[in-house]
């Protein structure tokens, strides 16, 4: 009965206090709930995208001399492969031949059944189709007749009806059942697709060791949303089929491989979540605890009164428990509801994480129930002002400094060893995560928080507040000195919120910048055009093209090592500084420009061949001719180049001594690259290879990095703004609310509104300056550490940190507005007639 009366009274007369406490708990709940929803949605998206990206789920290959008696699951089509000696075409009296190739026999509805496997570029989709690269090699277009050189049989003419692109050629021509590392380096350049009947007519008579048969299968896609669970399900089904086939066939599990990569992406997302999201969850919980804790003095007074009137300790605990449940449940429901709404709006998932509810109830228990359990006597209702006279043990022993030193040492050790938290080995989808590296940022977070607390307590207040308070400096200083704890709490949380916002935004911006650089390196430019006879002037006249930079490419031997050789115009080529070693990009390019036969080589080549600057390097072309160059510098990255070793020379010198195909790197005038690429395709025809950076970025990015990381950062950057605003503004308002009596009494003693204002603005300025200065400093340090520790995520490593000035501008403005609003609200409240305030308290 007492509980009901008590709750009714609280609801009727302390609605605002209860609502503030519930809002605080909702704040702690909403971020982890939203992050949980993000992770679930991201994982489900990764699974869906993996399924969508795979044109053929399984390639079940019949073993030589065996017949498959087991029916294929789902939808399947039989595909025949024939290895042939090559193709030939005649054009204007000239005969063009290719090396060995493959001819596939496909059922008539193959393209409709597996639409992702091929894309028609020209002609008709029925009849013999030539792969784009093959068409370029043979200069063949739809309607052309080519010759197929069959092993053991006479050559056969085939009239091409269309040209296609094979987007998934790697998996299409995989060696089914090969051990890891046993797959072909690249798919065949020369490919012809024939209707099933034509294929049998041409190749039924060739040697059996030149032929293989596969069943291309699409299985049911009702899979668990988690990529790890989906991977387990799919690979299990594949092994089951292999077991039933009893050695007559092997399964090439394309879907399993894609899900395996997605599984690694999911692990990667969890690492990023821990690194970038966990501090925000802790900050939110601390902020919620402080907001909810604001009602503690009121509760302590009430409990003391109840105790004085004979209430037992048990009764007090039951009342506190009832208030805890009321506030906790309301806060949790509000938090989960808000997270569900935000999740649906941001990434279409309301699947919030329920462990966030546990966190909310924990915060309610710690901030509402725990103080009540401690306050068992009337004397406990007293409100001490100065706090403990003796400083905390951690302050005396310098724990903050030890933590920061520990963080620096761990960072130094890990950096010196080239340590990376996330390793992405070439060609392997798995990530290697060492959780020891979490220690560096964790110690930095904790140490920075405690350091801000220490500095807020030790700053010379009288000197600091004198500009704002004038003759009242010593009084204001004394007031702030004896209220250091709430002041330090507000300043520390505000600084940590600023630190979180800065580090997250800098990391995110650097990440995006490097993803773009990676795409540019892979694609070469906004748009890249190769295998074309068009001139630079023709390309430059296409709408949307701002500049067309020619780039020559061919292969050359350094000793016995075959490397890519690029010819550039050093005066017009632009490179990032991180692409070169031993100077800036401009310096290295100038060195290249100074000598016609200058050559830039990779570090690996310098080491392998013991080169010194100025040494002659004799390159051997594939036709056996030898051309002398001189080693002029080291280049580490180059657009479109492989990562290990390649060469860069002057285009003019290369054209004179080793003529090569010209590729054009197109810079757009702001028109989206995919539009310019489409325009170029329309003008240059299907046999010209045209790629754009947007498409490349989607191809090279994992399912997570290409799409979903933006959801994570959107949540975190938005929440960082909210945290910064609340930490700076709300905590000040709560602190001021506790000091209403002080201001009212000062008003009774004759303090003018201006003088009362100086009390308030001094505190606002102190919190603002500490939060901005220390938050920015620690945020910068944390950004450097995050980028260094997560350097495996960046490819290539960044020149430096990318600073998102617009976001930081918004952060600064929002923080300042929150501070000013808190100050202005308090000044207005302090101007109320003091008697009214004293009567209300």
């Amino acid at each position: 009965m007492l509980i009901l009366i008590w709750l009714r009274g609280l609801l009727a007369r302390r609605t605002g206090t209860l609502a503030a406490a519930a809002a605080g708990i909702a704040l702690a709940v909403v971020l982890p709930a939203l992050l949980g929803a993000f992770l679930s949605a991201a994982k489900a998206t990764m699974t869906t995208r993996s399924i969508q990206r795979v044109p053929v789920d399984w390639q079940v290959e019949r073993q030589p001399g065996q017949s498959l008696s087991v029916p294929m699951p789902g939808t399947s089509r039989e595909v025949s492969f024939a290895r042939i000696d090559g193709f030939e075409s005649r054009r204007q009296g000239q005969t063009l031949t290719t090396g060995a190739g493959q001819v596939l026999g496909l059922p008539g509805d193959y393209a409709a059944t597996f639409p992702g496997e091929m894309r028609l570029l020209a002609g008709q989709s029925t009849g013999p189709l030539l792969a784009q690269q093959t068409a370029a090699n043979l200069h063949a277009a739809p309607g052309a007749t080519i010759t197929v050189r069959r092993p053991g049989l006479p050559d056969a003419p085939v009239t091409v009806t269309g040209v296609v692109e094979l987007p998934a050629a790697d998996s299409l021509f995989q060696r089914v059942g090969a051990p890891p590392g046993g797959q072909p380096q690249a798919p065949p350049d020369n490919v012809l697709l024939l209707p099933e009947a034509d294929w049998h007519r041409l190749f039924d008579g060739i040697p059996r060791d030149r032929v293989r048969t596969q069943f291309h299968v699409r299985i049911g896609h009702r899979l668990p949303p988690d990529p790890a669970a989906a991977y387990t399900a799919v690979t299990g089904q594949a092994r089951n089929l292999e077991e039933r086939m009893a050695g007559t066939g092997l399964v090439g599990d394309n879907l399993g491989a894609a899900l395996d990569a997605a599984r690694a992406d999911a692990l990667y997302s969890q690492v990023l979540f821990l690194f970038l999201g966990a501090p925000a969850v802790v900050l939110a919980a601390l902020l919620a605890a402080l907001v909810t804790r604001a009602g503690t003095p009121r509760r302590a007074t009430q409990q003391a009164l109840l105790r004085a009137r004979g209430a037992s300790r048990g009764a007090l605990v039951r009342l506190a428990l009832a208030e805890t449940v009321l506030v906790g449940v309301a806060g949790v429901l509000a938090g989960l509801g808000s997270a569900a709404l935000a999740g649906r709006a941001l990434f279409g998932s309301a699947d919030v994480s329920w462990w966030a509810a546990v966190l909310g109830l924990l915060v309610a228990g710690v901030t509402v129930l725990l103080p009540a359990l401690r306050a068992t006597t009337v004397a406990a209702g007293r409100r001490p002002v100065g706090g403990p006279r003796r400083s905390h043990a951690w302050l005396r022993y310098g724990l903050d400094l030890w933590l920061l030193a520990g963080s620096a040492v761990i960072f130094w050790i890990t950096s010196r060893n080239g340590y990376q938290l996330v390793l992405v080995p070439e060609g392997l989808p798995q990530l290697s995560v060492d959780y020891w590296a979490f220690a560096g940022p964790t110690l930095l977070w904790t140490g920075a928080g405690l350091l801000v607390w220490r500095l807020t307590r030790t700053v010379p207040l009288t000197w600091a507040v004198r500009p704002l308070t004038g003759g009242l400096a010593s009084t204001v200083s004394a007031m702030l000195t004896r209220q250091r704890a709430p002041l330090a709490r507000a300043a520390t949380l505000a600084a940590l919120a600023v630190m979180f916002a800065i580090s997250t935004s800098v990391f995110d911006t650097t990440y995006r910048q490097q993803a773009q650089v990676d795409a540019e390196l892979t694609n070469g430019a906004d748009v890249t055009v190769s295998h074309t006879t068009a001139t630079q002037g023709q390309l430059a006249s296409v709408p949307g093209v701002a500049r067309a930079e020619p780039l020559q490419h061919r292969f050359a031997y350094v000793g016995s090592d075959l490397q890519d050789l690029y010819g550039i115009r050093p005066t017009t080529t632009q490179l990032h500084d991180t692409y070169v070693s031993g100077g800036t990009a401009r310096e290295i390019l100038d060195r290249l420009a100074r000598r016609p036969d200058a050559l830039l080589v990779s570090q690996e080549t310098v080491t392998d061949f013991q080169l010194r600057l100025g040494d002659q390097v004799r390159l051997r072309a594939e036709d056996g001719t030898t051309v002398p160059f001189h080693y002029a510098g080291i280049i580490t990255e180059f657009p479109t180049a492989p990562r290990d070793s390649f060469l860069v020379a002057n285009a003019a010198y290369l054209a004179r001594h080793m003529p090569a195909d010209t590729t054009y790197l197109i810079t757009t005038d702001g028109t989206p690259p995919h539009q310019v690429a489409a325009e170029l395709r329309g003008r240059l025809g299907p046999t010209v290879k045209i790629t754009d950076v947007e498409t490349t970025r989607q191809v090279i990015g994992s399912s997570l990095t290409a799409v979903d990381l933006s959801g994570l950062t959107a949540i975190e950057l938005g929440y960082a703004l909210v945290l910064a605003a609340l930490a700076t503004g709300l905590l000040l308002v709560l602190g001021f609310a506790e000091r209403r009596r002080t201001y009212a009494l000062a008003g009774v003693l004759g303090a003018t509104p201006r003088q009362l204002g100086s009390f308030v603005w001094a505190e606002v300025a102190l919190v603002g300056v500490v939060a901005a200065a220390l938050g920015a400093l620690c945020g910068w340090a944390l950004s450097r550490m995050l980028v260094a520790v997560l350097s495996g995520v960046f490819d290539p490593p960044p020149d430096g940190l990318a600073v998102p000035w617009p976001y930081l501008g918004v952060l600064a403005v929002l923080g300042a507005v929150a501070l000013l609003a808190a100050g202005a609200a308090t000044v207005l409240a302090a101007r109320r007639p003091p008697l009214t305030v004293l009567r209300d308290l």
């Binding site: 409100r383 002002v385 003759g471 009242l472 004394a478 007031m479 009494l745 303090a751 003018t752 003088q755």
Partner: protein, 214 residues
């Protein structure tokens, strides 16, 4: 002699219309330097409201009040001793006593010296560094009086300053107030339930249902 405060048909009501509670009505009075007055009356008779009006801490809803000696703004120039604790919790005793002087524009050194003198005058200089929460009720009230003494006001208003004190402490506080007021030639108004306190002042006014009988 110029009166410190003059009131004519002064009234103060809380709320409006039928539900309005009239705390003070039709009060006409005047206070001059050196005048020491006790205001008695039952609880709810309007004593505190009248004192707040006299101190300029509240505004009348009808009638007129003026402080010919202080101009338009009496707040800060009237020494007020409240019924309950009125010391600023985060300031120590000396800082509390010095605060009205600092607010009035005195220099830090001067304010501190005057505060310590005022504390010494009432025998509390050994508590100068204590926080209000460390004082007893009597000590806190005496510090509040010291705060008035330090500011040297010409009008001192004390609202039941002895209500929470034992008789010995009450006597010491009232003696202190009258001594201070006499030394400053200030007018002293003390609202009290206690007839013993009222008898220690030469003049007694009575409040009854918001009306004042001088």
């Amino acid at each position: 002699m110029t009166p410190l405060v003059t009131c004519q048909e002064l009234a103060r009501a809380y709320g409006k219309g039928k539900n309005a509670l009239v705390a003070v009505h039709s009060v006409t009075c005047e206070l001059r330097p050196g005048q020491h007055v006790a205001i008695t009356g039952t609880s709810g008779s309007g004593k505190t409201t009248l004192l707040h009006l006299l101190a300029g801490l509240d505004r009348p809803t009808a009638g007129r009040i003026a402080w010919p000696a202080f101009g338009d703004r009496p707040r800060g120039r009237v020494g007020v001793v409240f019924q309950g604790p009125s010391l600023l919790p985060p300031l120590d005793v000396a800082e509390n006593v010095a605060l009205p002087l600092l607010i009035a524009g005195a220099g830090e050194a001067e304010a501190k010296e005057q505060a310590l003198l005022a504390l010494a005058a009432i025998g509390l200089d050994d508590l100068a560094g204590s926080l209000p929460e460390e004082l007893s009720g009597g000590q806190a009230q005496r510090v509040a009086v010291a705060r008035v003494l330090a500011a040297e006001p010409r009008l001192i208003i004390a609202d039941e300053p002895t209500a929470q004190l034992d008789s010995d402490s009450a006597r010491r506080v009232v003696d202190l107030l009258t001594r201070v007021a006499s030394r400053l030639d200030a007018a002293l108004v003390v609202a009290t339930h206690d007839p013993l306190v009222a008898r220690r002042l030469p003049e007694t006014w009575t409040m009854n249902d918001g009306a004042l009988t001088c």
